[in-house]
Amino acid sequence: MLGFIIQRFIQAVGVMAVMSVIVFFGVYAIGNPIDIVIPPDATQEIRLEAIRRLGLDQPLYQQYFTFVSNLLQGDLGRSFVYNMPVLELIGGRLPATLELVLISVICATVLGVSLGIFAGYRPDSWVSKTIMAVSVLGFSVPSFWVGLILILFFAVHLGWLPAGGRGDTVMIWGVAWSFPTLNGLSHIALPAINLALFKLAMMIRLARAGTREIMLTDTIKFARAAGLSEATILRRHLLKLISIPIITVFGLELGSTLAFAVVTETIFSWPGVGKLIIDSIAVLDRPVMVAYLILVAFLFVTINFVIDLVFALIDPRVRHGASA
């Protein structure tokens, strides 16, 4: 087990190092951020001074080494645009993204798996057919459009829910969360639905396919022959057997939604990290981009690691195979 963790850790460091190089050099190739942000009446001298202050006059490899040596001391650098430590900037936005993503991914999974099992268990009922038809919509309609329609219908037309922004927050463990307040929840609702739709559709399809496959196997036949109730069969046997692909997808979706909820965050003006990163890209704020993508790489490696551990917990074959 320890060897497994160490191996994963080395893998993570490798991924992050490669990521930092690609981003660092990639952003450099686009051009000098100064030329985007410099005011139009700046003189040549002022422009050079601004470049020098950000250290952009140094050769690229030297800029990279400065970055890495600061990183090793735990300093991810300061944002060009906000002149704030990058970690503080990202850390301040992370709770907003975290609560939005967790709520939407968990809702999508619980609801999607239940509907999917039903659709697989009773494939011929009209309810199942409706569920499957709706899931096609979830897949095929672009999420920015759904977001705008949600705003138009629920916020502008009906006026039930706010059109965007984050609601009132409460401090828990020194972090501001908005889900415990009614006002906060009303703000979360629309963006969470928007984010959840695609995942919901995917979970329905995964669960349905798994259910249809497992229902035909001997396991289920013997369970039925043993006189177990249908509910027990579904809960104890079916759910366990279809959960491996669902957990894998859950983890990957959680990661990618955390990292790239950009579209939804932009449309709903949700003050999360997605909005921060897209704004940083627009002005080539390299410290924020590099730090963010390194954190994302770290996040994915961690999630994959946790998924492997969970596999071992629920699937005896994995558990015993590892110890044998």
Binding site: P39, P40, A50, R53, V81, M84, M171, I281
Partner: protein
């Protein structure tokens, strides 16, 4: 982030009773962009200055039409070639109750070069050599040579408190001190409550403001960068006013009785720029082979391009009427604009004829580059322009791209024909002509944004002498003359002047649109 810790219990209490934000005493503004810091000296970005104007004041105020007016300074005079005297307003209070005086002016000016970020505010004080305090309410600003437009430079020079900001005036400490509110003490109409980067700026009325008390007890400035979302927030009643309504939405709003549109002229003018280097990268013969010389250096070719552009159609079709044809690089009434410049004609036959005369009867091929995400309609104007030029015989490949890619490449001189907007934010010609039309010459600090190697010796001379003329009428004449010469050379071809649209709930607010597109809560009043 910092301040929320203190506000949270209150917010929690309010959250449970689910109050709505919109009360009569609160103005909520939905804006496209926001400040980058609470330190007013950190950035020269328009949206940064706009936010700062709520909390801080400037020595010189720029009015609705960008005319300069007394602000914290009541008057200014040039007492000799390199000294300006500013008389300061007496009885002005900072938000913490302390008095505003000359010490704060000197402190603010000297602080700028130390704490500025990459969108450098050093431009405001680039001509300042030193500041002498004569008495608490007058200062002498010594400049490096004659600086005729110094008061114009000062329209975004914000005055911070020399006491409150004393400990927060290095590059490392400034953001911390101002974002926490400790140093965010100004003389402006509103006091700072809280701010989150890219989020909400919350302000509270300052009752002792020298211009008088504002109409709103509380002002919330919400950043909503997406145009559609911003308008939706207005329609849903979450915000009271939004800026930058897109031209497509503007068409729809005309059918909507619940929303009023306020239209204002913008300082931004779209300019087509034609590379004047002998060797230019993006121009080829029709078969892709190299041309013996850069055709854009030929005046006849440039005139042909001008004749090929139908500005009326551009405004009517591409911008949905939200603009005006432009014949020079600044709006017509600005200091240094020339009223005698004729509006260019649209005459495609004449364009073909001129191309033939220049030796290009079959035209040539060129790559046109423009921004597509910076100003309303820029990408669409670019497409229209490409079609018009192609019709006239110059095969134009349109590349409307992100400003993130466009400006760095433009600075590396990689383009031959390119278009972007230019806003004359100071309202006078030295800002625009000095940067674009003078040949690029660091020794005289002019021409830093001349990316086409345009050089006209007469124009250079006029701009150099104009900058030193303390006599206003003579200076105006010099700039008007320079403008006429630049536009006649057609290396810069001005296309259209943009207009900006604000949206408000019908009949709820009144305000006068500003030329610089600022949305300022103090100047917005309830309709009745």
């Amino acid at each position: 982030m910092y301040h929320q810790k203190f506000l949270a219990p209150l917010a929690f209490a309010l959250g449970l009773t689910a109050v709505t934000a919109a009360s009569a005493q609160t103005l909520t503004m939905g804006v496209r962009g926001g400040p980058e810091s609470m330190d007013p000296h950190f950035s020269a970005l328009g949206s940064h200055a706009e936010a700062a104007k709520h909390i801080f004041d400037t020595l010189v105020w720029s009015g609705t039409d960008l005319q300069i007016e007394p602000g914290l300074a009541t008057s200014w005079t040039a007492i000799d070639d390199d000294t300006w005297e500013f008389k300061l307003r007496e009885g002005v209070k900072f938000h913490d109750g302390s008095d505003f005086d000359a010490e704060d002016v000197k402190f603010s000016i000297e602080r700028i070069p130390v704490v500025t970020g990459p969108t450098t505010t050093a431009i405001y004080v680039r001509r300042v050599a030193s500041v002498d305090i004569i008495d608490p309410y007058s200062v002498h600003i010594n400049t490096d040579g004659q600086a005729a437009t110094l008061p114009n430079d000062f329209i975004r020079l914000f005055i911070v408190s020399s006491e409150a900001a004393a400990d927060y005036s290095t590059a490392e400490t400034a953001a911390e001190g101002f974002n926490s509110g400790a140093a965010t003490i100004g003389t402006g109409p509103y006091k700072y409550v809280s701010w989150e980067p890219n989020g909400d700026l919350v302000l509270e009325r300052f009752d002792d403001y020298w211009r008088g008390m504002g109409a709103w007890e509380q002002v919330i400035r919400k950043e909503i960068p997406n145009d559609s979302s911003r308008l939706a927030a207005l329609k849903a009643g979450q915000v009271d006013v939004v800026n930058y309504v897109s031209s497509v939405d503007y068409l729809a709003l005309q059918q909507d009785a619940e929303i009023d549109a306020v239209i204002g002229d913008s300082v931004y003018i779209m300019n087509l720029q034609l590379d004047q280097r002998e060797d230019t990268p993006m121009v080829r013969a029709n078969d892709g082979s190299a041309l013996p010389e850069n055709p854009l250096r030929d005046l006849k070719v440039r005139q042909a391009i001008d004749y090929a552009i139908d500005r009326e159609t551009m405004v009517e079709i591409v911008l949905e009427g939200l603009g005006k044809p432009a014949n020079q690089m600044m709006p017509v009434d600005f200091f240094g604009s020339n009223a005698d410049i004729p509006m260019p004609e649209y005459d495609p036959a004449k364009a073909k004829e001129l191309l033939t005369e220049a030796g290009y009867p079959d035209g040539f091929q060129v790559d046109l580059y423009c921004t597509s995400d910076r100003l309303p309609g820029d990408g669409a104007i670019c497409q229209g322009l490409g079609q018009m030029l192609t019709q006239a015989g110059i095969t134009t490949n349109v590349n409307a791209i992100s400003k993130t890619v466009y400006f760095p490449a433009q600075a590396r001189l990689e383009y031959s024909m390119f278009m972007n907007g230019w806003g004359t934010l100071t309202g006078e010609a030295s800002y625009t002509l000095g940067s674009l039309a003078h040949s690029n010459n660091p020794d005289v600090k002019l021409g830093a944004f001349n990316r086409i190697e345009y050089k006209n010796d007469e124009v250079d001379m006029l701009l150099q002498t104009g900058a030193t003329m303390m006599d206003e009428a003579a200076r105006r004449a010099a700039y008007e003359d320079a403008m006429a010469k630049v536009m006649a050379d057609k290396a810069y071809i001005s296309l259209v002047q943009l207009q900006t649209v604000w949206g408000t709930k019908a009949g709820s607010l009144t305000f006068e649109p500003r030329f610089d597109e600022d949305t300022l809560a103090f100047f917005i009043t309830p309709a009745s």
